[in-house]
């Protein structure tokens, strides 16, 4: 089985803001476009115009309804891709060493030339973040756009994952969690970022910012005294208006 580095120099990953994600799927398709054209095999689609279209995606958005104890039901959009775990079970389970976690930055990758397409890593991943490409027979997963983030052929401002660059709502943030002052570390601290399924012991690098509390005006009306009437009818109002305008 393949071993994980004891530690990595940097811990690159994403903060995904569930309060802001509107569920538009921009990240899903931008990822599909970049990674079809770039790193490794194309992300293929079978039966693309038929009864059961099925393609490889490295990032998908799921929507969940949440029914709080009181108040209206809510809908949470939940983008999901590889979390680049510190304790990545998909790496340790790999029989060929094709899956590995980079020492420099902690990105979990598949070396496609060594991948035999056995699918063990996809079974081992508790998040369902890996997909076996049906045409190529190799395992595909989020590369954190390793071919963008250091790419000297791109302007510096574009050296970030395609999903982050494209996210219209700015719900996705990329950075180094090893640096306590990085944008992602600060956001994670300030907004109470959470690990996904911590009980699995995978120590995911990516963090999720929880949605803020909703529907507060439904519960209390602390502001109502603000609306003290100035008059009860039109005549009274016009009198109030006269008086008020005199002060102008």
């Amino acid at each position: 089985m393949t071993s994980l580095p004891k530690q990595t120099d940097r811990k690159l990953g994403l903060v995904i803001d569930l309060d802001t994600c509107v569920g538009c799927h921009a990240c899903v398709i931008s990822c599909k476009g970049w990674n079809t054209e770039n790193y490794g095999a194309a992300l293929s689609d079978t039966d693309p115009y038929g009864a059961e279209p099925s393609g490889t995606f490295l990032n998908r958005v799921h929507s969940y309804e949440v029914q709080p104890a009181s108040g209206a039901a809510q809908l949470v959009h939940f983008p999901k891709s590889c979390l680049h775990c510190d304790n990545a079970p998909c790496v340790t389970v790999c029989p060929t060493g094709a899956s590995y976690k980079r020492v420099e930055d902690g990105i979990v990758l598949v070396n496609e030339s060594d991948c035999i397409g056995c699918g063990l890593c996809a079974w081992a991943c508790p998040y369902g973040a890996r997909e076996l490409d049906a045409l190529e027979g190799v395992m595909k997963k989020c590369t954190l756009c390793v071919d963008r983030i250091y790419n000297e052929n791109l302007p510096e401002e574009d050296r970030e994952p395609a999903c982050v660059r494209t996210c219209p709502a700015g719900a996705r943030h990329f950075g180094d969690f090893a640096d306590p002052d990085s944008n992602v570390s600060r956001l994670n601290r300030d907004r109470g970022g959470i690990d996904l399924m911590p009980e699995q012991g995978t120590k995911p690098v990516n963090k999720y910012l929880p949605p803020r509390r909703k529907d507060q005006t439904a519960e209390i009306d602390v502001l109502a005294p603000f609306l003290e009437p100035v008059a009860e009818d039109a005549k009274g109002f016009m009198a109030w208006l006269d008086k008020t305008l005199e002060k102008f």
Binding site: V22, C24, A51, P53, V146, T217, A224, F237
Partner: protein, 939 residues
């Protein structure tokens, strides 16, 4: 097993070249970086420099590569050889196609130009297509606004000189509270997402009013799951509460609105309800300095909101006074409307209170001096950080116009329009209704129409009626049935033409409008009308010309198909004369240009119109010697001048000292200039002109310099809409232009010059207690063709979403099927439970359902086997009411199709093989789609 990490190339070459153009996957029109490899499109991303999207791009935009390469692309002009609707065509040459079109259209123009009805769908070149139609001479032209959002556009323009949508946007940098009504995914889709992200990162709040909690409504801090169609009542109740507590911006109302304008208040006067004006036609206010009437715009005037004035024996009251009398009525008290709106009274108060508290207690100043139109200098710009946005959810009801007006009244009472933190116009807006053209319908054979088709009527005298009172236009726009139909009524064209009411036509020409499927109410009926024949076996609508890039359902119903290009293969201009891409702080326009040449025998429809115009000898399309004026659309974009110095593109024009913006001469290198600038042009609004635009002398001067107006046009916001009063007055029997008797009562009711709310007419709908709505998913909104290989994997099926209460009531579980019935028809569809939904509302994603044989999809594609349209349930007419008349299913003011008034009942049924109704498969005019895709251009 530890082994060395493989060596990666961390700096692979990204592309050979980046070509920058404008997206057309929806109406948002973002800037694109198209990465080319080996001369082919390899990857599409957002252009960071672009004013609209600032680098981001939605799912549609990123999936553009699949649209550009879609197997459903048409390949050559087609001539129908089988019966209409069969899909049997033969491919012909462009010369033959253009000869056929010329042979059909030429004789019409010679004798009866109105026999051509030319309507366009998701057309982004309306200033061009309307110019063509005007030159042809037919009055029968419009785009798709009539079934889209004419209520939104028109109510905004009549009230304040612009609306939400392309006319303006929230001040995202300063707003703290953003309230949305009836917004699913909408126009300006990426800017709204960018804005919500910005607002939330600052800790700002979003309140969303919508029966369905998805998308923006899902991330809102507060969700109001309102009863559909009652938004106007909710808004008027908040207005009641705010007025009653004096929480309105009196200074703003006095200075910038017609609240202080005097109105004739005597019911026995012939001018009852008319604004008091001076001899020059200027509205009069009482000047607080003198206590005497003065024109509103006189230097130094201080308008008095509470004045009364006796004149000519008649009492005149201010608009403010009339509003107070109207909205303080207890019928608008929260307790009185709570049940109908489905919102507790305390919550209505709480939201009104939050609006006022944010607007007034968190007001702020920007240290930017400016001078108003009365010559008064202000040292700062005062901000009120509350902004609103609304869209189809409030406009696609029969009360939509007045509901949109009510919302504008609310934001104006709070003083939040065109101020920092509020709603801001985008140039060339603001532009009041009076600065727009009036509608024109004067037909002369063999000559152009007497002016632009569409416009803003100011009273009954501007209607498009024949001397006998019947409609001039085939869609009956600008008639008593829907006087303010500023976008026309595309949804009525086919049924009116089929009925020969008001008359029969010869040729129907359409562009990007899927009328035989998801763009019509009553889809099955429309299919029958398109194929119906008379006693001699001739089609009742004799000829249909259709242009589309894709094998849509409508292609099968055309006699002649003119294949369009994809958006990456064409020239286009997103013009300030049309629907521009401006932002609040800048005027902007853009082009598309062929980043790749078509590999099929297809042509951009606009270029085809240039040639067809020349063949038909249309004055605007031929030179004096009869030769073609424009070789193609690009030639038109550069060389056409609407007025001297004003062309389709405002950037890089020729001035006396080189390149200039706005007004300027023709520049042969203009398109190259645009391409070099990333496909767009931006001219920033000066700092002292950023806010208070309708009243700001600096903005007005800049707008004149840019060519938006010919002289400064300061105006007051029309809380009281006098043009409506003129129609109401006519209905009361005043004046030479009188409505038909059966419309009098309705006109009196709905043409109220102050915003009102009235329920949708539900007579004939007993037993249909559930409202059925549709919305488009974000990944497909306004997208032409949802057969996109990547996007259909996100939204390839559309269940009917049913709230928990109704699921239980009808014994339904996820995956069950239900029969959904309206007074007009029935469909059988799969259901899925949704809790975050108004308890008496069902909904589905629109336009997922496809007809077999269309869009190059396999016949067993889920879009065709399980997908469905609600359109089958909606008729263009309301159910019979027993009065012997059939009333249009539309807003009686604008004619906007009232899609969202649809009422249904549901019942559980055994699962059928496929969703119902099903139609015979169309014969596809394009080859079979590939069985797999692995779309890699580079090696």
């Amino acid at each position: 097993m530890a082994r060395a990490q493989p060596t990666l190339d961390l700096s692979p070459k990204v592309s050979d070249e980046v070509r920058k153009t404008t997206c057309y996957m929806c109406a948002c029109r973002c800037g694109l970086n198209v990465h080319m490899k080996d001369g082919k499109v390899a990857y599409i991303e957002g252009n960071r420099d672009h004013p609209v999207n600032k680098g981001v791009l939605c799912a549609k935009g990123s999936a553009g590569i699949m649209q550009h390469n879609a197997p459903s692309r048409l390949r050559a002009p087609l001539k129908r050889v089988g019966p209409r609707g069969s899909g049997e065509f033969e491919e012909i040459t462009w010369d033959e196609a253009l000869s056929i079109a010329t042979d059909w259209l030429g004789p019409l123009r010679e004798k009866q130009p109105e026999k051509l009805a030319f309507f366009t769908g998701r057309d982004q070149s309306q200033s061009f297509t309307s110019y063509w139609a005007q030159n042809f001479g037919t009055p029968n032209y419009a785009a798709h606004g009539g079934f889209c959002s004419v209520n939104m556009a028109t109510a905004g323009i009549y009230t304040m000189g612009g609306a939400f949508w392309e006319f303006g946007q929230p001040d995202w940098d300063h707003t703290k509270l953003f309230m949305i009504f009836g917004v699913a995914e909408d126009h300006d889709s990426n800017p709204i997402k960018i804005g919500i992200g910005k607002l939330k990162s600052r800790g700002g709040r979003v309140i969303a009013v919508n029966p369905i909690r998805t998308g923006y409504n899902a991330v809102a801090d507060d969700w109001v799951g309102i009863t559909p169609g009652t938004d106007g009542l909710f808004i008027l109740s908040m207005i009641h509460v705010l007025l009653k507590s004096g929480k309105i911006d009196l200074d703003y109302l006095a200075r910038f609105t017609n609240a202080p304008v005097l109105v004739n208040a005597n019911t026995d006067s012939g001018d009852h309800g008319m604004l008091m004006r001076d001899q020059a036609g200027k509205e009069l206010v009482i000047d607080r300095r003198t206590g005497k009437p003065a024109p509103f715009d006189r230097k130094g005037v201080q308008p008095d909101l509470s004045a009364q004035w006796r004149h000519g024996g008649y009492t005149h009251k201010t608009v403010m006074n009339l509003m107070v009398e109207k909205y303080l009525d207890p019928q608008y008290a929260p307790e009185a409307v709570a049940e109908q709106c489905g919102i507790p009274a305390e919550r209505i108060r709480a939201i009104a209170s939050e609006l006022a508290k944010t607007a007034f207690d968190q007001s702020f100043e920007i240290a930017q001096p400016w001078t108003d139109f009365r010559g008064e200098r202000h040292e700062t710009m005062r901000g009120r950080p509350v902004s609103f946005h609304a869209m189809r959810g409030i406009s696609a009801h029969a009360n939509g116009f007045q509901t949109c007006r009510a919302l504008h009244l609310l934001q104006i009472l709070l003083g939040t329009v065109e101020v920092p933190g509020g709603f801001r116009f985008k140039p060339p807006y603001p532009k009041p209704a009076t600065a727009h053209p009036k509608p024109h319908s004067g037909v002369t054979p063999n000559a152009p129409l007497d002016g632009p088709h569409l416009g803003f009527v100011q009273g009954p005298e501007d209607l498009a009626l024949k001397p006998d009172g019947t409609a001039v236009r085939i869609d009956k726009a600008f008639s008593w049935e829907n006087p303010l139909s500023a976008h026309g009524l595309m949804h009525m064209v086919i049924s009116n033409a089929h009925a020969g009411d008001p008359y029969k036509i010869d040729t129907l020409m359409m562009y990007m409008a899927n009328m035989s499927w998801n763009s019509s109410m009553n889809t099955s009926g429309v299919i029958e009308m398109l194929t119906d024949t008379d006693v001699t076996g001739d089609y009742i609508i004799p000829r249909i010309i259709y242009s589309d890039a894709y094998s849509s359902e409508m292609v099968a119903y055309a006699d002649l198909v003119l294949p369009d290009t994809t958006y990456l293969e064409r020239f286009d201009c997103i013009s300030l004369l049309d629907r521009p891409i401006s932002e609040a702080d800048a005027a902007a326009d853009a082009i598309r240009w062929p980043v790749v040449e078509p590999d099929r025998d297809v042509r951009g429809f606009q270029s085809v119109l240039c040639e067809l115009g020349a063949r038909l000898n249309l004055p605007g399309f031929v030179n004096a010697d009869g030769s073609a004026k424009y070789s193609d659309y690009a030639d038109y974009m550069v060389n056409h001048e609407r007025k001297p110095g004003i062309g389709p593109l405002a950037g890089y024009r020729l001035g006396p000292n080189g390149l200039t913006s706005g007004r300027g001469g023709v520049n042969d290198g203009q398109i190259d200039n645009y391409i070099a600038n990333g496909g767009f042009f931006v001219e920033h609004v000066p700092d002292d002109a950023q806010y208070y635009k309708p009243w700001n002398t600096s903005y007005q001067k800049w707008a004149v310099d840019m060519g938006f107006y010919d002289s400064p046009q300061p105006y007051l916001f029309s809380l009281y809409a006098e043009p409506l009063r003129k129609f109401q007055r006519a209905a009361e029997g005043v004046g030479p232009h009188q409505p038909p008797e059966h419309l009098r009562a309705r006109l009196k009711q709905v043409m109220d010059p102050l915003p009102i709310w009235y329920p949708a007419d539900d007579r004939g709908q007993d037993g249909y207690p559930i409202t059925a709505l549709t919305q488009r998913p974000m990944a497909m909104y306004h997208s032409w063709g949802s057969q996109n290989a990547w996007l259909r994997q996100l939204h390839g099926v559309n269940p009917l979403y049913v709230p928990t209460k109704l699921m239980q009531q009808h014994g339904l579980a996820d995956g069950d099927w239900a029969r959904v019935t309206s007074p007009h028809g029935e469909i059988t569809v799969p259901v899925m439970e949704m809790a975050a939904l108004n308890e008496n509302t069902v909904w589905t994603w629109n336009a997922i359902g496809k007809r077999k044989g269309a869009w190059a999809l396999d016949d067993d594609a889920p879009e065709a086997t399980k997908g469905f349209l609600l359109n089958h349930l909606i008729h263009e007419l309301l159910p019979p009411k027993g009065d012997g008349l059939r009333w249009a299913n539309s807003d009686p003011i604008t004619g906007q199709a009232a899609w969202f008034d649809l009422r249904v009942q549901i019942e559980k049924v055994d699962a059928p093989q496929q969703s119902q109704p099903q139609f015979a498969p169309l014969k596809s005019p394009v080859p079979q789609a590939p069985e797999t895709l692995a779309w890699k251009i580079g090696k």
